[in-house]
Amino acid sequence: MKKNWFYLALIAFPLMAGMTACNNNDDPTPEPDPEPTTTFGAYIVNTGNWNQNDGSLQWYDMTEQTVSGDLYAAQNGKSIGDLQDLCLYGSKLYAICPTSNKVEILERNGKVIKSLATNTQSGQPMQPRYATAGEGCIFFTAYDGTVSKLDTLTQTITASVAVGDHPEALTYTNGKLFVNISGYGAENKVAVVDAKSMTKLQDITVLLNPYTQCVTGDDGYVYVVSNGNYAGSESIPESQWIYQTMQRIDPDTYAVEELCNATYIANKGDKMYILYAEYYLPDTHKCFVYDLNTGEETTLPISLSDFASPSFIQIDPVTEDIYIGDQVYGALNSIRIYSKDGQFKKTIETGMSTSNIRFVAE
């Protein structure tokens, strides 16, 4: 099984010349992306347990309905360490490894082309966190408070800019980067950076603690989720609770609009698939579709009580199948797959701390 998927993947890869990037609108070409018609499969990002060097990269083959073993280990004969984020751009993969302190450029099959150690000038690990792509470059945040630009042609880091304390997820749109500044839970900013000159343009104030969710929607707006202050905590009076909230940022005027409660989001057209699970408040947990035009919420028949701990929501760009990660403590994680109307389809077993899935579609 493990071998089979791989040959199939090799056949499939050349077909994917015009790859989708991390976010649908990241392509630098000004004309809009052609609508994908086939999803070949998806890369599964397993971050790994903290300091356990057990991050891994798997391939979910949609045709064969099989999940591979660790692609990285199979190709390189060693473990990647940890894997926080994966960016698909052009013909390559860009792996972001905070604890192992590196950004690695991989072939589509997982083989390392180049490994870039990400140290600061004083020799400390930068701890890269999340990446996005645009203008022929990869942009990644790091815990030294910067966003760096990796030129995909020269495969070198060409520029870096300070953006704020503990930057996390970021997105590229129209020559600009929007970067969540979490301050490790103490900040409430989205930094705007000019991607070409790598200069910080401005801070946008959002709700407290923007963290892992920062995407450019198909409508061109930037959507950011702030995680708030863990509403429901006993040590904070109820009047001071800040709920997890999705906000819409206009990329030109920087106007911020609070839309609805959300923890994880995934966009397709004018629909936002949302998973909301407030840490201390189990009664809030729900999964729904938010209409970005009307603001209407349609609840999906997905029960979050089936999950040990939901870890992301993603949407197949073609079928609109819903993929929700489930992190189980001390055992292999899994991803539950539902049809776009929320009917359960199947569960696939993954690796450790499964934190994302990146679709390959054309």
Partner: protein
């Protein structure tokens, strides 16, 4: 315990016997075998009794100074690794955290006491035994279940197992003062001088002062495989510097009353190398510890039938955790205090039947500089009542502990009050008069209360936690004999046990953050086998052999539908053991020792990629004693981890490879 062999080991024997006497002074009169006096031809006179390990109704293991020296042991953790049914979690190197878990129940269920007074850490609930020196220790005792010594503080009833560290008490029979100086040096920049000075102040009072300094670079080389690529590197940021000082004042007001007062100072600064991270060797975390305590123990033996002990302690601990990373500097400080008072009344109204009542009070406070610190305070009231019947062939002990805990916090919600009754009982039966065979049976029901970290740490803490409970049952056979063929002494013991841990407190991930939850259940069945023998080969040559084997099947029985159902719990070897062989001659002593653990898993789901290889750690120790008038000198050379494998006890914390130590002791 061990006969006085030659004048060369007089000091050792002296403190040893003292310890033995003080230990047995606390137990009820002996039966036929234990009371017998054995005369061993080449020695003047020696009282030899059956070791308490053999007569105990619950598994009890004792290691005296002589055995520690014989085996060439350097720290408490090394010594405890030779005990049966325990696992020591060791993060490697001199500065690495070392904790003891008894029969897979977890380190937080192991009580540690220092000279009979409980040592605790209300924040983490586990005691780092690397902070204690072995140089001024005369005896280590490990009890599993409930000790049959009922003349104890209530806290001695309050954990699943207790490790007691007994420091040396001076003996002034032949000199009004003693000096015991130690110098240890070895691989990876180890330098460790210490001095123990004891002075008789009057007929009734004496004072002991102990001082120690330790430094080490700890930057040992290691090799580790990441798949098929080799990491050949050195541990970095693993240096340590420690000062320790102790003063103990002993006085006997009358023949019936005595008082011991101790002051203890500990100050350490060390680097935390962290686990090996693939492709990132950076480590800059520093840990500073200060621990000061004062304690006293007062005893009044009113008469043969009634006695009273009172204990008190004030403990102050301070830690600073500093790290310098690209994201900024973190500098967290933690301060905890404990005030502890205890009184125990013991009486033997009828011959062979004794009772005790113990009342303890503990106050704990934790202060941290973390965000949202709740400044918890805990008041613990423990009451234990116990009874013991001891006859020539039969012994029975029963106890009941009542716990009441109430907590306050300055911010947020405190945990609810906790009340609990915890019973324990044990039996021992000696079916034959002639043969030294004993059967024992014991049961104990006890719990650990959630620690301040479990309850209040950042947002992970959960003040709704219930206590983590344990129930343990043990059935064992012990046998010992003196003078059997060429053997001076032999003892064997076999124990089979069953434990159940319920409401195990585990950190569970939940949407970005982890939270402490009562989710786990663990069921353990195991067997501990112990052998100890002494054999005289000639008038001048003697051999000592010890060995133990442990089987431990500790399985997760939380949820039959989970992937971890009936998997061995993490870091618990199914098979483990240790052994030692010592040859003692008038010229030198040579000792070989080994500890072994089978494969272990680092993940609750026992997947092959989370398996840690079995290991065996072999050591050799050579020592020689010299004497000139009353001056005694002892030189010891150790070669440790002869196999030179960087095995791991904790995954990604490689242990040092082959290394050497040189120790010089001077005694006057």
């Amino acid at each position: 315990m061990h006969p006085v062999r030659s004048t060369g080991s007089c000091f050792v024997a002296a403190i040893h016997m003292l310890a033995a006497v003080s230990l047995q002074a606390q137990t009820v009169p002996t039966d036929s075998i234990t009371g017998r006096i054995h005369e061993i031809p080449d020695i003047t006179v020696s009282a030899r009794r059956t070791p308490p390990a053999i007569t105990a109704t619950s598994p009890l293991q004792v290691m005296g100074k002589a055995e520690m020296e014989r085996l060439g042991l350097h720290d408490v953790a090394d010594a405890v690794r030779h005990f049966s049914g325990v696992s020591v979690k060791d993060y490697g190197g001199i500065g690495g955290l070392k904790t003891v878990s008894v029969r897979s129940m977890g380190a937080q269920h192991t009580g540690v006491s220092y000279d009979g007074v409980s040592v605790s850490d209300c924040q983490s609930g586990q005691v780092d035994i690397s902070r204690f020196s072995l140089d001024n220790v005369s005896e280590l005792t490990l009890t599993i279940g409930q000790t049959d010594n009922i003349y104890q503080a209530a806290r001695a009833f309050a954990s699943a197992g207790v490790l007691n560290i007994q420091t040396a008490k001076p003996d002034f029979q032949d000199s009004p003062f003693h000096v015991y100086a130690n110098l240890k040096t070895g691989s990876f920049g180890l330098a460790n001088p210490s001095v123990l000075y004891s002075q008789r102040l009057s007929r009734k009072s004496s004072l002991s002062v102990y001082g120690e300094y330790l430094r080490a670079d700890g930057n040992y080389p290691f090799k580790m495989w990441n798949g098929n690529s080799l990491i050949d590197s050195k541990r970095n940021n693993s240096d340590i510097r420690t000062y320790r000082a102790e003063a103990t004042f002993y006085t006997a007001f009358t023949a019936k009353q005595d008082l011991q007062i101790k002051a203890y100072l500990f100050d350490s600064e060390r680097g935390l190398p962290g686990g090996v991270i693939y492709d990132n060797p950076y480590a800059a975390e520093r840990l500073s510890d200060k621990n000061y305590f004062g304690q006293f123990r007062y005893e009044n033996r009113f008469n043969d039938r009634i006695k009273l002990q009172a204990l008190g302690k004030f403990n102050y601990s301070w830690n600073r955790d500093y790290n310098n990373e690209a994201s900024g500097i973190t500098d967290d400080r933690y301060r905890q205090t404990e005030t502890y008072l205890s009184a125990t009344l013991w009486a033997e109204p009828v011959k062979d039947l004794s009772f005790s009542v113990a009342q303890d009070f503990v106050y704990n406070y934790l202060h941290t500089t973390l965000d949202q610190c709740q400044y918890p305070q805990r008041y613990t009231v423990l009451t234990a009542v116990a009874a013991r019947y001891r006859h020539r062939k039969f012994s029975a002990t029963a106890s009941l502990l009542n716990t009441f805990i109430t907590e306050n916090v300055r911010i947020g919600t405190a945990a609810d009050d906790r009340k609990r009754l915890s019973p324990a009982f044990s039996l021992s039966w000696k079916p034959f008069d002639a043969a030294g065979l004993r059967l024992r049976l014991s049961y104990k029901d006890i719990f650990r209360t959630p620690t301040f970290n479990d309850l209040y740490y950042l947002i992970i803490g959960n003040s709704g936690l219930r206590p983590e409970t344990t129930r343990q049952g043990n059935f064992g056979v012990t046998w010992s004999s003196f003078r059997l063929g060429c053997l001076d002494f032999i003892s064997l013991s076999a124990d089979a046990y069953y434990n159940k841990v319920n409401d195990k407190i585990v950190a569970v991930p939940s949407m970005f953050v982890w939270r402490m939850m009562n989710v786990g259940k663990v069921e353990t069945v195991g067997v501990d086998l112990n052998l100890s023998a002494e054999c005289r080969i000639s008038r001048q040559i003697k051999c000592y052999l010890t060995g133990n084997y442990n089987f431990m099947q500790a399985e997760d029985v939380t949820d039959p539908s989970s992937k971890t159902w009936r998997n061995q719990i993490v870091y618990t070897p199914r098979h483990s053991g240790s052994g030692s062989l010592t040859v003692e001659t008038p010229w030198a002593n040579l000792s070989y020792n080994v500890t072994y653990a089978s494969e272990r898993y680092t993940l609750a789901q026992n997947l092959p990629q989370y398996r840690i290889e079995p290991y065996a750690d072999h050591g050799l120790s050579l020592s020689r004693k010299l004497q000139w008038k009353r001056h005694q000198l002892r030189i010891q050379v150790d070669a440790l981890n002869l196999g030179n494998k960087n095995y791991e006890i904790i995954r990604f914390y490689p242990m040092p490879g082959r290394n050497y130590k040189l120790t010089i002791n001077y005694y006057l």
